[in-house]
Amino acid sequence: MSAQPQTRAGAGEAFAAAFRERRGGLPGAGLAWLEGLREQALERFLAVGFPSPRDEDWRYTDVRVLARRLGVPSAGPGPVAEEAVRALAFEGLEAHRIVFVDGFLAPALCAVGPLPEGAAVGGLAEALARDPEALAPWLRLPEGADGLMALNLAFMTDGLHLRLDDGVVLDRPVHVIHLRSGAGASAHLRHVLVLGRGARATVIESVAAVSEAEAVDNQGTTVVLGEGAALDHYHVREAGPRLYHVGAAGVRQEAGSRYVSHDVTLGGRLTRSGIHVELAGEGAECVLNGLYVVGGRQQVDCHTRIEHRSAGAVSRELYKGVLDGRARGAFTGRVVVHPGAQRTDAEQANHNLLLSEDAEADSRPQLEIYADDVKCSHGSTVGELDETALFYLRSRALDEALARSLLIYAFASDVLERMALEPVRRQLERRLTERLLRPEEAEGVI
């Protein structure tokens, strides 16, 4: 079967032309290996085009809608007022702040405090200018990369660069803010987070837009955790209804490392969140928590893949969806236990609530297991609120509407409760109560 590129006529040529025009100005221009990578990536995109809904991995993402809007990349950032950035800060959170606007670092909006020895926090473009060879191992076109990932690598303009040497602990979290100003059709950020042995960090990424213009984000992330390293990684997506956001993260974990992801989607027109974790070292642990609370015509597609490649690794996954209006939420989670990955302990769960007649939930929890001494389970539900709990609350004099809202809130906040970072958790809990409860009901619920 020949792969039919799903690119609409001329789109490939438009990207190729944009590439020829921009390549000289992209970060790392002149570096042979990077130019080679970009060319290779563009060729891949031209060969495979955009993913198609017939592709099992993209079955539940309306890629055509996304592709139609994915114009050539922004040439530079548009203006963003500092208040917009301040509005995204988490109350009570002291963090290093890195801001990207339309795919470019906005130094004037950044605030990075003193860093410990052996720590680098900044933009990828800047890091490429300073010490490109250090980044070479982490910038590659993965085997089987789809068209969007290929486009990201061909056009990457900047991104977060976080490097911690062995044993370095970053006490203060890094808050990365992704803003769209309305300038340019698409932004292609690539983030590289490399933590040495025993290093620790917390990174929060906020996705928002200050303009109502349609825009497409096509982000890629590489996370590398050395032995015993630990990264807490938060994604909070609160963009307006016209942002199309694609994120694909690849995480590689060495022995004893721990990766914790909290993936929260409240805004955006279409969100595709992909996380691919390789548990390469013995006893590595990953925890993937996800929550999507969407309505209107919003679409969310959470796609995770956890590969247990060595013995004794642990994975925990919980994704919950609350879908209102005409929203569509999809979860695909595959856990692969490779031969030899004995004593694997994997749990996966996806639960969904449909609040309206037109909402849709799709769920594909998947196990692929090639080792026998394993503990693997998954569960998935789509359904209404627990009738017994509803009756219990009503028998305690609460009216039905409040009882329902409370249970929906409780259903969703269950995911937030797993967040270690209190300011982030509290803010998200407040967002949820604002959505689900009247102000007088919201008091004291958190």
Binding site: M1, L354, D358, E360, P365, I369, K375, H378
Partner: protein, 483 residues
């Protein structure tokens, strides 16, 4: 699957062509290959009415536009569809074994292991012996008794001759020829199969079974079964493939269509033990089957129970389309893969009517280098107010070279629906094994006992005699799975 085993298939297909049919019953076969002339020939030989030939041709033309599915979690070399012979009439009586002495001793041995000593049964001159070696007489035996109740139970070919209006009305109404690659191929070339019609309000007084198919190995691998349960009727149907095929290596692409009208219930049980190939994965059946039922009226019910222990590759998803309000679909499955067997099996429950309910219980057992995948779709349409589904998929791993996979698809478009899916994967616990062995059981018996316990929920859905066979079959199939 290695290319050498593919070579075996081709060689075998050739061998049958060379030695099996052409020399002995030459006038009853067509040369390998598929084209419209072959289909016209099949239809003509069966003296089919025009509508059926037209349908076959449409199916064939559609098939030409399709590609073989690749999404299943199985691997095999491409099949050369032009190397298969699509029509071979049953061997005549004289070709059949005249006594058990002429039967392949390996077959007898398997039956001994199954606890069905054929020599005893031969003396009883009962159904079972006929069932194995005669492709029509079982149906004939019961036909008259069933006719008293107005039940039609006959071969598909007979139904085409005697009840063309029913065939025309229902054929392809559940599995259209456009459905999938193998269903299209089957629609074009199907040789025979069975046909059941149960009139309104009739409760079929006995289990109907298709043991008779076993010997049909010589006639082709594309059977077609159509069962219609009219309003308020009930039928339990057993598909017995408990005998290994005498011929090895074969593409088996059957289609089964069930139609349950208002208040009707169809219970369809399968014990599938086609030849699985040898320890090295040579030979065995490619079992690519499309089975689907439609609950066409209120409170209709279709229940699939399958025990799949045979075949080199199994690709089948017995499904239920729940159109009628309050209709019920069930799928109970045990699938075992040992040695180099591969199975990608499961179900589809499509909820359309209000307050429809479905239950899926799947037990997968992987041993040796076997690969066992559950693949199931639960779809709740917008119209399916109050629909419920419960799915439980459990996998048991025996040994560290096998694989167990679970790929559910859950698509819900109605907020009042409740869908629940659970899956677990585990190995046989050392504690259980030790406990049983400490009580004096041999390791193999202990494993067999644990596996049977694991499958109990499914076995209890089988008619009693089938359940016993299924249990024994598991024991046989697991042989050599534990050191």
């Amino acid at each position: 699957m290695s290319s050498s085993s593919q070579h075996n298939i081709e060689a075998l297909l050739k061998r049958r062509y060379d030695a099996g049919f052409v020399t002995e019953v030459e006038q009853e076969t067509v040369p390998p290959g598929l084209n419209e002339d072959v289909i016209r020939l099949i239809s003509a030989k069966k003296n089919e009415p025009g509508f059926l030939l037209e349908w076959r041709l449409k199916a064939y033309r559609h098939w030409l536009t399709m590609e073989e599915p690749r999404w299943a979690h199985v691997r095999y070399q491409p099949i050369d569809y032009q190397a298969i012979s699509y029509y071979a009439a049953p061997k005549q009586k004289k070709d059949r074994p005249k006594s058990l002495d002429e039967v392949d001793p390996k077959l007898l041995e398997t039956y001994e292991k199954l606890g069905i000593p054929l020599r005893e049964q031969e003396m009883l001159a009962g159904v079972a012996v006929d069932a194995v070696f005669d492709s029509v007489s079982v149906a004939t035996t019961f036909k008259e008794k069933l006719a008293e109740h107005g039940i039609i139970f006959c071969s598909f070919s007979e139904a085409v001759q005697n009840h063309p209006e029913l065939v025309e009305k229902y054929l392809g109404s559940v599995v259209p020829y456009t459905d999938n690659f193998f269903a299209a191929l089957n629609s074009a070339v199907f040789s025979d199969g069975s046909f059941v019609y149960v009139p309104p309000g009739v409760r079929c007084p006995m289990e109907l079974s298709t043991y008779f198919r076993i010997n049909a190995a010589n006639t082709g691998q594309f059977e077609r079964t159509l069962i219609i349960a009219d309003e308020g009727s009930y039928v339990s149907y057993l598909e017995g493939c408990t005998a290994p095929m005498r011929d090895e290596n074969q593409l088996h692409a059957a289609v089964v269509e069930l139609v349950a009208l208002e208040g009707a219930e169809i219970k369809y049980s399968t014990v599938q033990n086609w030849y699985p190939g040898d320890e090295e994965g040579r030979g065995g059946i490619y079992n690519f089957v499309t089975k689907r039922g439609a609950c066409r009226g209120r409170r209709a019910k279709i229940s699939w129970t399958q025990v799949e222990t045979g075949s080199a590759i199994t690709w089948k998803y017995p499904s239920v389309i729940l159109e009628g309000d309050e209709s019920v679909g069930e799928f109970y499955s045990v699938a075992l893969t040992n040695n180099c067997q591969q199975a990608d099996t499961g179900t589809k429950m499509v909820h359309i009517g209000k307050n429809t309910r479905s239950t899926i219980i799947s037990k997968g057992i992987s041993a040796g280098r076997g690969q066992n995948a559950y693949r199931g779709l639960v779809r709740i349409a917008r119209s399916a107010e109050g629909a419920r589904n419960y799915t439980q998929c459990d996998s048991l791993l025996i040994g560290d070279r096998c694989g167990a996979h679970t790929f559910p698809y859950i698509e819900v478009r109605n907020r009042t629906a409740q869908v629940e899916h659970e899956a677990t994967t585990s190995k046989i616990s050392e504690d259980q094994l030790f406990y049983l062995m400490q009580r004096g059981l041999a390791a193999e018996d202990a494993v067999s006992m644990i596996v049977n316990g694991f499958c109990k929920e499914v076995f209890k859905e089988l008619p009693m005699e089938f359940a016993v066979e299924a249990q024994k079959l598991l024991g046989v199939s697991l042989e050599g799975a534990v050191g």
